[in-house]
Amino acid sequence: MNALERSIEGALFAAEDPMSVDALASFLGDIDKSEVRAALKALASLYEGRGIHLVERAKRWHFETAPDLAHLLRKEREQLRRLSRAATEVLAIIAYHEPVSRAEIESIRGVQTSGGTLDVLMEAGWVKIAGRREVPGRPTIYATTPEFLDHFGLSSRRDLPGIAELRATGLLDPVEEAYEELTGDESGPVDDEDNTSRDA
């Protein structure tokens, strides 16, 4: 193991939060980023099959225990706060459609979303306000955070389960768009559907 790998191993081990390549490079004294990346790769493969894994989530790296040890380690831990059904659903809608306004969330769920639900998700650090949509009324739009990806074990939003199929089958498009697609209706979307996010 070379000196850079040792330093990165030590730093990530001691760090309280995940670290990006940039943060590591500058923390360790202006190391070339490509070297840092190479060292991270080497380390990650070194830890394969071990009781600890080195993983990348939202472009930030951290060590965590191997998922198959969950049964062993879980018993000692306090239970995670259970997310309500509404909160889970709102979280999924934000993750798959981001950035998305509250009205858009409500139009998918067919019910009003209480402000409390969004607060819970923001307090958990999984959702943040991502600005306003530049349409009349300038509604606030929401998006997920790196901590969200972290917590749910996703490297990036592309890892969201089934997102590629959902996108391919048009299930992330607003109803009006999907309707036109199906019927070949050219009358154009109505105003408010027009604003709904067209996810990247």
Binding site: A11, L83, E89, L154, I163, E176
Partner: protein
């Protein structure tokens, strides 16, 4: 045909509850109420009913679904259960949809019942997809449940030292500012050029009297006024225009948001 992932069971789903209405199998009147509490609104109830058709959400029979929903609501009413307004609104809308679907084609209005039914189906598919996604999301390796972070990280010790900066000018200016602020102050109210609402009303209504054509609000402003007077005149002319419209003496048009506002006399 079946798109597979739409139907995978998800851990937090209530799908493993026996299908059918709770009121039937429980027999006590608040069971149905309790189950209604369990739904996240009428769309959720519809989705649940649709899933019981045991076909791909793209293949469901909307008519059958509508009937199931209406039955459900009817039964709730028979049991004199309190139903949230949105369930009743949905019931009314579905009843309308059902009657439209049963009408002969040529008596149909716009939008057609086919369109409404298809859109309802699309909404259910979308909600179903998100519910499925939520389940799979929660099924992943979550920190604190499946994987664990280091229990007692030493932390990276970053000692921050601050070096403060300030220059001589800022220092002397600050002193000047303090002295100026605490010096006795003399307040004077300056006269500002304004156009009062009364004179704007006169002016706008006189000018409207001259022509029947549409005129832009801007054209009512005094042409050579200095900028601040012009600003005041714009504000008071706008209010004057609203007042004249209220009195039925003028009409106002604006073609787009923030577009020019136009004004015309009402004969």
């Amino acid at each position: 045909m079946n798109s597979g992932f739409l139907f995978a069971e998800t851990p937090q789903e209530k799908d493993n509850q026996p299908p059918g209405m709770a009121a039937e199998d429980a027999g006590d009147s608040d069971a149905l109420y309790l189950e209604l509490e369990g739904w996240e609104g009428p769309l959720d109830l519809l989705l649940d009913l649709a899933r019981r058709q045991k076909v791909d959400l793209r293949e469901i029979s909307i008519l059958a679904l509508v009937e199931q929903y209406l039955d459900y609501i009817e039964q709730a009413e028979a049991l004199k259960l309190e139903l949230a307004a949105d369930y009743l609104v949905m019931a009314a809308w579905l009843a309308y949809l059902k009657s439209a679907m049963l009408l002969p084609k040529d008596e149909q209005e716009d939008p057609s019942p086919e369109e409404l039914a298809l859109k309802l189906q699309l909404r259910l598919q979308r909600l179903g997809a998100m519910r499925e996604a939520a389940g799979r999301l929660l099924g992943g390796n979550r920190i604190g449940r499946d994987v664990f972070l280091r229990g007692a990280p030493e932390g990276l010790d970053i000692v921050r030292k601050t070096r403060w900066e300030c220059d001589q000018f800022a220092l002397i200016e600050a002193y000047g500012r303090v002295k100026a602020r605490t010096a006795p102050a003399v307040h004077m109210v300056r006269e500002r050029p304004v156009m009062t609402l009364e004179s704007a009303l006169d002016r706008v209504s006189n000018m409207l009297g001259v022509t029947l054509e549409w005129m832009e609000l801007r054209e009512f402003l005094p042409p050579h006024a200095e900028p601040r007077l012009r600003k005041s005149a714009l504000a008071s002319s706008f209010v004057a225009a609203l007042e004249l419209a209220r009195l039925g003496r003028a009409e106002i048009a604006q073609d787009e948001t923030f577009g020019p506002m136009r004004l015309r006399r009402v004969q």
